[in-house]
């Protein structure tokens, strides 16, 4: 007979909550930095000079074709031999940012590519500079078009951050490990963690879907309003 004891895990709820908060914090920072990096790379790949374009492409391909855990280990364990010693939190944020940046670059580029030519021509005929055209005419509706894909990617990065516990960043899976090493309720601890991650994923998705049109790309009405 299988006996499950969830109470033994839930009694440590302050640790679980602290871990969840840390996970959300890491995700928030990585989201802001990663999306900005993604936009910069998308811009470099669509408008940049040839060397810059090649560099951005190499970065995107390299990140998209290697596992997050290897990127994280390379940054945390590998870079100190170059004299760059990072705390586990900094390494986690850098890894998550670089990871999200590469995927966001592809996603945002798809949105930029679908900009109607007429809008570019209209903006240029108003004597806007290239930077103004990009920031005011091209980018906001492009973000609007690809927002659902971008939100999915942000959720994937949040879930991926569970690996950061392996380098002792004190996020949810780190505390899950701590709890199961104390009470040996391994299955229950991971089950509770899974439920918490699921709730966080659903909430984050809803929050971003709600916030996007209001604050991020909604200031400039997309078209025809």
């Amino acid at each position: 007979m299988i006996q499950l004891d969830f109470a033994a895990v839930l009694v440590d709820w302050p640790l679980l909550l602290r871990g969840a908060a840390f996970t959300l914090g890491l995700t928030a920072v990585a989201t802001v930095l990663g999306v900005a990096l993604g936009i910069a790379c998308a811009r470099a790949r669509t408008h940049g000079a040839a060397p810059l374009r090649a560099l951005a492409t190499a970065y995107v391909e390299l990140i998209r074709n290697t596992p997050f855990i290897v990127q994280l280990f390379f940054i945390f364990f590998g870079l100190p031999s170059l004299g760059l010693r990072l705390s586990s939190e900094t390494a986690s944020i850098i890894a998550m940012t670089l990871n999200l940046g590469a995927y966001a670059a592809e996603i945002v580029r798809a949105g930029i590519d679908n900009t109607p030519r007429g809008q570019l021509e209209a903006a240029r005929s108003l004597a806007m500079t290239e930077r103004q055209v990009f920031l005011r005419v091209v980018l906001p509706p492009a973000l609007g078009r690809v927002w659902p894909a971008l939100v999915s990617q942000i959720v994937i990065v949040m879930l991926g951050s569970a690996v950061c516990g392996q380098i002792a960043a004190q996020e949810l899976s780190y505390y899950t490990n701590l709890i199961m090493s104390r009470n040996f309720r391994s299955f229950e601890a991971n089950f509770v963690a899974a439920a918490m991650y699921l709730a966080m994923a659903v909430m984050l998705r809803q929050l971003l879907a709600w916030a996007g049109p209001r604050w991020i790309f909604g200031r400039v009405a997309p078209t025809g309003r």
């Binding site: 391909e61 074709n65 290697t66 290897v70 590998g78 690996v163 899950t176």
Partner: protein
């Protein structure tokens, strides 16, 4: 401390990459079979099945693969099954892949115009015949590119099996690092291996996608 030349590191990683490939193939094939079964159940329109499959997909897409691996590892143990890391990783990655694949393929089936289903109905085709002669040929064409693309996700996902003690590429990298104290070189080599595995597949997937868009 053990002295390893870069070639020895690469050679050992290459040997370990076989297990990454093996686990990826098991997960991809197993996930394909389970995913197909779930898709068929959905298309049957049995009551409650759509909800159940949607929940299944939501759970696997909404929780970290790492936690899924732990749950498989410790969960199978609860039933008194003595699980090796092999079994746990295969089970977890199969279920993970099945959730994604069934969702990808559902999208492909949904992309087929309703008229095709109705035409098949009006020809009095059975459920199996409808799938075989009308739906599958059209859905498969759309499905190839994203399915190949997902294979890359699976290969990268197997890296997490290292954490439950499955000795594949990443785990071997960690072991060599512990012996040589050269994390920079070793993890760069590990990343290179994954890149060599994944990049050609990504490129094929991208080309298929472009070709499909042109053909339409």
């Amino acid at each position: 401390m053990v002295e390893f030349t870069v070639w020895q590191i690469l050679w050992n990683l290459l040997l370990a990459a076989r297990w990454t490939v093996a686990l990826s193939l098991i997960a991809f094939a197993g996930g394909g079979i389970v995913g197909l079964a779930l898709l068929a159940a959905r298309l049957r329109r049995w009551p409650g099945v759509a909800m159940a499959v949607a929940t299944y997909v939501q759970v696997f897409q909404g929780t970290p693969l790492l936690i899924q691996l732990f749950l498989a590892y410790f969960g199978l143990g609860l039933f008194g099954i003595n699980v090796s890391a092999w079994v746990a990783a295969s089970v977890a990655l199969t279920l993970y892949a099945s959730a994604y694949l069934t969702e990808i393929w559902r999208g492909c089936v949904d992309a087929i115009p309703r008229g095709q289903w109705e035409a098949a109905d009006s020809l009095a085709l059975s459920f199996g015949e409808k799938l075989r002669h009308v739906v599958a040929p059209q859905a498969l064409r759309i499905a190839v590119a994203p399915t190949v693309g997902f294979l890359v996700q699976v290969i990268k996902g197997t890296a997490l099996a290292s954490i439950i003690g499955f000795i594949e590429l990443t785990k071997t990298g960690t072991m060599i690092t512990n012996a040589t104290f050269r994390p920079f070189t070793v993890y760069a080599c590990v990343a290179l291996m994954y890149f060599a595995l994944c990049w050609p597949i990504s490129a094929v997937s991208k080309r298929l996608e472009r070709k499909m868009r042109r053909d339409r």
